[in-house]
Amino acid sequence: MKHQLLFVEDGIAIIRLRGELDHHATQLIREEISQSLYRGKLRAIIWNLQELHFMDSSGIGLILGRMRDFVPSNGQTVILHPSETMKKIFQYSGLGSYVWETTEQETIDALGGILNGQ
């Protein structure tokens, strides 16, 4: 499990998850992600799952937890590139509407941000 976290101007965080996200992996990365997110005043978190090969319900806990802690009530959570199986897991969990069928760049544009240093 590795991940990459970047900030876009105007308080948008992008979290690119990699490898396998299970209970074991969430224990390893939750703290790190939370600490990093404290650095910025957020109005949106984009979860990019393009390079995530596996996710179980631990991923739901991770995303819901970060929504609760960091995204203000008028803010956004966006989930990009889930696999078919992950999409089902999001639907069952009531997160289906957060899945956007688009790219990272288009999401940033739609949210009105500018991606730093890219």
Partner: protein, 150 residues
């Protein structure tokens, strides 16, 4: 019965990945589709994680056991622990119900296991343990779209 195996390991979270790998190898000869494999691994992961964290509180001592059989293109598995057990099974199986919200469990494990398997049954008794049995049928190879050489 075409193949049969049993795997057991101690209750540490590292073994969630081990269990998925082992079960992936066990069904490899069925040549599952990407989605079938992903759903199957998710069921295994949910059940094994529950045994480790709810059954044993990750005590590195309790033993989680997976028994699996392959008959044709059907896989039947039982994941069991001898841990704390579940007192109210109906409530436990409700979507979003969890006894570990502080650990950010989502309460979706049972819902996902039920949705991704063809048949699921749960036995549990407080202080005795829990056993989840499920089966999953894999689609015939000839009905799959295959690309390139097999």
């Amino acid at each position: 019965m075409d193949n049969e195996m049993t795997l057991s390991f101690i209750a540490i979270s590292e073994n969630e990945g081990l269990a998925r790998m082992v079960m992936t190898s066990f069904i490899a000869s069925l040549d599952p589709t990407i989605d079938e494999l992903a759903e199957f691994k998710t069921i295994v992961s949910e059940a094994v994680t529950n045994a480790i964290i709810h059954g044993y509180e990750e005590d590195a001592q309790g033993i989680v056991t997976i028994r699996a059989k392959r008959d044709g293109r059907k896989i039947t598995m039982t994941i069991s622990d001898e841990g704390r057990g579940i007192s109210d099974l109906e409530q436990a199986m409700e979507p979003l119900f969890t006894t570990k919200p502080e650990r950010e469990r989502s309460g979706m494990g049972f819902t996902i296991m039920e949705s991704f398997s063809d048949h699921l049954s749960v036995w549990s008794e407080p202080q005795k343990g829990t056993a989840i049995t499920f089966s999953k049928d894999f689609s015939p190879i000839h009905s799959k779209i295959t690309m390139g050489e097999r």
